[in-house]
């Protein structure tokens, strides 16, 4: 009887998550183009990763994106939520405006960004030209492209953090803030010593969530730069995609995916262990 309830779901998850996960570990020790016979090659794919400049570049780009995107989205979400927490005229408008981009798909967001940052037609370069400044390459400039992609991702992702923080702020006991204020604390002091400590668990949650999102960056890159210009925006997932589906090297792609998995695990486990040691219950 009980298996009638849980059986179908468990079967699908075993077939489409657990089994492929184990298989991808095996694939990472093989050389296979998907057509001929797979050949066991032990650690060859991993040793190629270690000596592959493209892979280091992918790691570097992903790390740069993560290191900027995660803190800025957390800090920005916190500040905007704090400004919206107490009733304010137009509050619903502000909240909606900042959250709406989250609903747009990564594909639509990427294509829109191509237009906004276009050298000739884009509003930003037109504004620069209007101010008498030089037009910028943005997504076409290898030095600027990854920073532009961070900006695009923040546009799409900030609303999520704002909404999560806003919800958490509703749970801060109002009488505590009120008491502190009556004792003469400034609003910054109230926020620092009363509100923020209550927000630590949600901060850990948002940090873990956005780190996972950042490490998996792919869709926006695919619909803006396709990893270019000259490879300047290739990320780890792009490396996996490129090796498996453009170069038909499933083993090499799987090895890259395993590294992504390990990095994700280590980082999220580290963040959670840190929060546990400081007695923050995030999950």
């Amino acid at each position: 009887m009980a298996w009638g309830f849980v059986g179908p779901s468990v079967a699908i998850i075993v077939a489409l998550t657990a089994f492929p996960a184990v298989w991808s570990v095996l694939l990472s020790f093989q050389r296979w183009d998907g057509i001929g016979d797979a050949r066991f090659t032990a650690l060859r794919n991993y040793s190629r990763l270690v000596s592959d400049a493209d892979f280091y570049a992918a790691l570097r780009h992903t790390a740069l994106f993560t290191v900027i995107y995660v803190p800025v989205s957390i800090l920005g979400g916190l500040v905007v939520a704090a400004l919206l927490a107490k009733p304010i005229a137009l509050g619903a408008f502000y909240r909606t405006a900042i959250f709406v981009p989250f609903v747009a798909s990564a594909a639509a967001t990427g294509i829109l960004a191509n237009y906004i940052f276009d050298k000739n037609a884009g509003i930003i370069n037109n504004a620069l030209a209007g101010l008498g400044l030089a037009r910028q390459g943005f997504l076409e400039d290898p030095r600027q492209a990854i920073l532009v992609i961070v900006t695009i991702a923040l546009w799409g992702g900030l609303g999520f953090n704002v909404v999560v923080y806003l919800a958490a702020m509703q749970d801060v006991p109002p009488h505590l803030e009120e008491a502190a204020r009556l004792d003469g604390a400034s609003s910054l002091q109230v926020f620092r010593h009363i509100t923020f400590p209550h927000l630590r668990p949600v901060t850990v949650f948002v940090g873990v969530w956005q780190t996972v999102v950042a490490l998996q960056l792919f869709d926006i890159v695919y619909t803006t730069t396709r990893g270019g210009p000259i490879g300047a925006t290739r990320t780890i997932v792009y490396y996996v995609y490129r090796n498996a589906f453009e170069l038909a090297d499933f083993g090499q792609g799987s090895a890259g995916a395993i590294v992504l998995f390990v990095v994700t695990m280590v980082l999220t486990a580290g963040m959670m262990a840190y929060s546990w040691r400081r007695n923050v219950e995030a999950f």
């Binding site: 309830f5 492929p20 991808s24 959250f99 191509n114 237009y115 037109n126 030209a129 999560v164 919800a167």
Partner: protein
């Protein structure tokens, strides 16, 4: 303590908050406004300098090209089918499994649930290569199945429903059982109707994920007939790099359904985010 000191040392005055929030809100809306306007402009207007602020008239060329030069209606239909299948399947499968793990007694329940939860840690990207191979072997490449099968059930959904069912008082089920209802009838007739908020949350989350998904269709579908709207957009981006009115019209068409759904059901959307955010 004098009454006046509260406003002096109180929180930031509304005018200061508006000073930050208004420019930020407008900055966030600007790209969407640009997208909408460009979809109604001629190429000449789009490329003009100084830039065109408001199109001279509602130029529909972009939309006409969009629907005549590519099977966009079919792509929208494909996406709709994927979403309907994904949402229905998740509502049924996740609530059944969630109830099973919350309430029914069977061997291996707790171990099974913990192992299930562990799969949340596995990133989709780790699965994409083996899943591609599996789909190739069973002949699902270039079919709609490739786009919806990965969305049929989710560990997150099972977890969400289980947490909800745990919060329902056991007495309700005992009363139903005393009245002679079997396990399934108790679940279907008594417990599931109470779960509407959790089901709505699950539906919203699945809708958002399945409609906006690019990764699965991208790697498994190459026949235009089975493109989803997101994959169609991505293919335009490759072939029509600067045909802005067409690209922006495509963006509007692909984004509008969710945007309308969001504005209509904003409360539920926000509740969803909150629920996934904490609790």
């Amino acid at each position: 303590m004098p009454v006046g000191s509260r406003s002096a040392s109180g929180r930031a005055r509304p005018s200061v908050r508006h000073l930050v929030l208004m420019p930020l809100a407008l900055l966030f809306l600007l790209p969407l406004e640009q997208m909408l306007l460009a979809s109604f402009m001629t190429p000449a207007e789009i490329n003009a300098y100084p830039p065109t602020i408001i199109p001279s008239r509602l130029q529909l060329d972009g939309y006409i090209k969009l629907f005549t030069e590519a099977p966009v209606l079919r792509w929208l239909g494909n996406s709709l089918a994927v979403v309907v299948i994904a949402v229905s399947a998740q509502l049924v499968l996740c609530s059944l499994a969630g109830y099973g793990f919350a309430r029914l007694r069977f061997r291996g329940r707790n171990v099974g649930f913990v192992m299930l939860l562990a799969t949340i840690m596995i990133p989709t990207q780790l699965l994409m290569i083996p899943t591609y191979i599996i789909f190739a072997k069973v002949g699902w490449l270039d079919t709609l199945a490739a786009a919806f099968v990965p969305w049929l059930v989710s560990t997150f959904g099972i977890f969400l429903m289980r947490q909800f069912f745990l919060s329902v008082p056991v007495e309700l089920e005992e009363a139903a059982r005393i009245d002679g209802a079997g396990t399934f009838r108790t679940f279907w007739g008594v417990i599931l109707p109470l779960a509407r908020p959790a089901l709505a949350t699950l539906a919203v989350f699945t809708l958002l994920g399945a409609w906006n998904d690019l990764l699965w269709p991208l790697i498994t579908i190459s026949n235009q007939d089975w493109y989803t709207i997101q994959l169609g957009l991505a293919s335009f981006q490759g072939q029509r790099r600067t045909d802005w009115s067409l690209l922006m019209a495509g963006n509007v068409v692909a984004t509008l359904p969710l945007l309308v759904a969001f504005l209509v059901a904003q409360r539920q959307f926000v509740a969803t985010m909150t629920l996934t955010g904490m609790k």
